[in-house]
Symmetry: C2
Subunit: 295 residues, 2 copies
Amino acid sequence: MSVLKEAVIANTEKVEQALLRLIPEGEGREKRLFDAMRYSCLNGGKRLRPFLVMQSAHLFGVNTECSLRVAAAIEMVHSYSLVHDDLPAMDDDDLRRGKPTCHKQFDDATAILAGDALQTLAFEILSEPATHEDPSVRCALVKSLAFNSGCEGMVGGQMVDIAAEGQTLELGEITHLQRLKTGALISFSCEAGAILGKADEPHRHALHSYAHDLGLAFQIADDLLDHEGTEEEMGKKVGKDADAGKATFVSILGAERAREQANILAEQAKRHLDIFEDKANLLQDLAQYVVDRRT
Amino acid sequence: MSVLKEAVIANTEKVEQALLRLIPEGEGREKRLFDAMRYSCLNGGKRLRPFLVMQSAHLFGVNTECSLRVAAAIEMVHSYSLVHDDLPAMDDDDLRRGKPTCHKQFDDATAILAGDALQTLAFEILSEPATHEDPSVRCALVKSLAFNSGCEGMVGGQMVDIAAEGQTLELGEITHLQRLKTGALISFSCEAGAILGKADEPHRHALHSYAHDLGLAFQIADDLLDHEGTEEEMGKKVGKDADAGKATFVSILGAERAREQANILAEQAKRHLDIFEDKANLLQDLAQYVVDRRT
């Protein structure tokens, strides 16, 4: 097994333990909500965003317990967005990673509330002293997560995605859409390490550039997988975007040029991290993995 | 016009200006999202929660610009909860204060996203230096809003409400449900003033007790209005809870005892504020208004 794969697996285990610990348990009628929150977070994802938080924090020697809380918070926000995205009123998906989506396992109302509560819990965790002793660091984390996940970030991207259905998008427009929809949370994941580590401007900037290129490479690779993968491999429906007449990087560039572009971006992403020398090896390997992966 | 009414109207105007200022404007495909966020917040509500924030902050001489940002944030959270609550998968309401609900005016997907983004924006606002110069105060606001609006507060209450449909609730259970569903945000609104003003324990406690009794009085009065009011007066469907077989304070206590109980709670609420002397007159008047109102 590669060093990266081992590190990702070890990280996933730690993050899932943190998620289990941080989502309340309870008796009574609230239990259904806590169960749905847990179900939505613990669904066998690759935990890319938490891995980015942990690795970027590691560059600055941040205490693992602190970065683990931020990693769990970002995964809660990612999970909430998937739960709401899968709803009948949005993408109407029954399967996610081979398992019933939250509203299929529970019901639509519970899925709406579980998504809402996961978002809230993410901000609660960031605001608590256990995340960082310096309240100005905690405020910076809240501010950045809110900006990147809100109406000028992830949710704005989802709106653009819906509004663009059936329309012809140009490359610039689809890049803008994806920078919001998936890029913003990836940016926060890398920035979080710099915030926790009170990084100086050059190191912060290097991580920011890495995240930018990684996010785009990730999305192009996703479009390629959606184009080439099978439902069995992916654990979800494939070809949905093409079927819905949505523009993707593959529909605009063609598969070959899209793959080339993803590889160029991955290479660029790695070079931004040269400033960290050996400490960023895993993040560099990750950039290559993101474009080479088969699921 | 009573002094309270004048103060409420003046406050509403200021809060609505703040909401307009704080929700982003934009061009392009995101515009629909910003429009839906604005539409959901600016719908002629009474702005009870922002009024509580402004008045409780006033007790400690907090700068108005700071408390106005917190007032806007709490109204965004309240609005997001109404937008999601009105969805077909939840209460399925077409009207709110005589106007089409967000998903009727836009569509279900936009309403889900607008609710999500309003929640996010509330936390972003609280985390910014313009809300308070001391980052530990800002963290305390984020923490308290998250706790009171999340799975152990408002959203938890909504889950309990749904799970209890068609079941016979006892008085203790319905009190627990309402303490979460509506009481928690009212508690935060009053606590916010104490946090902003770095209040000492006795003053904090007095406001906490006031909020507790006010929240319950408010909910009992709401149940009475739902029982006695007309659709025209209320600008929304009435008698829905009774029709759905949901227990309310009125169905358990009967209208007469429910009204008595509301009055006792309002009187108690007022007494908790005696510690503030004349400065809390408006908050005391509000407790009476909450149980006397006709809409």
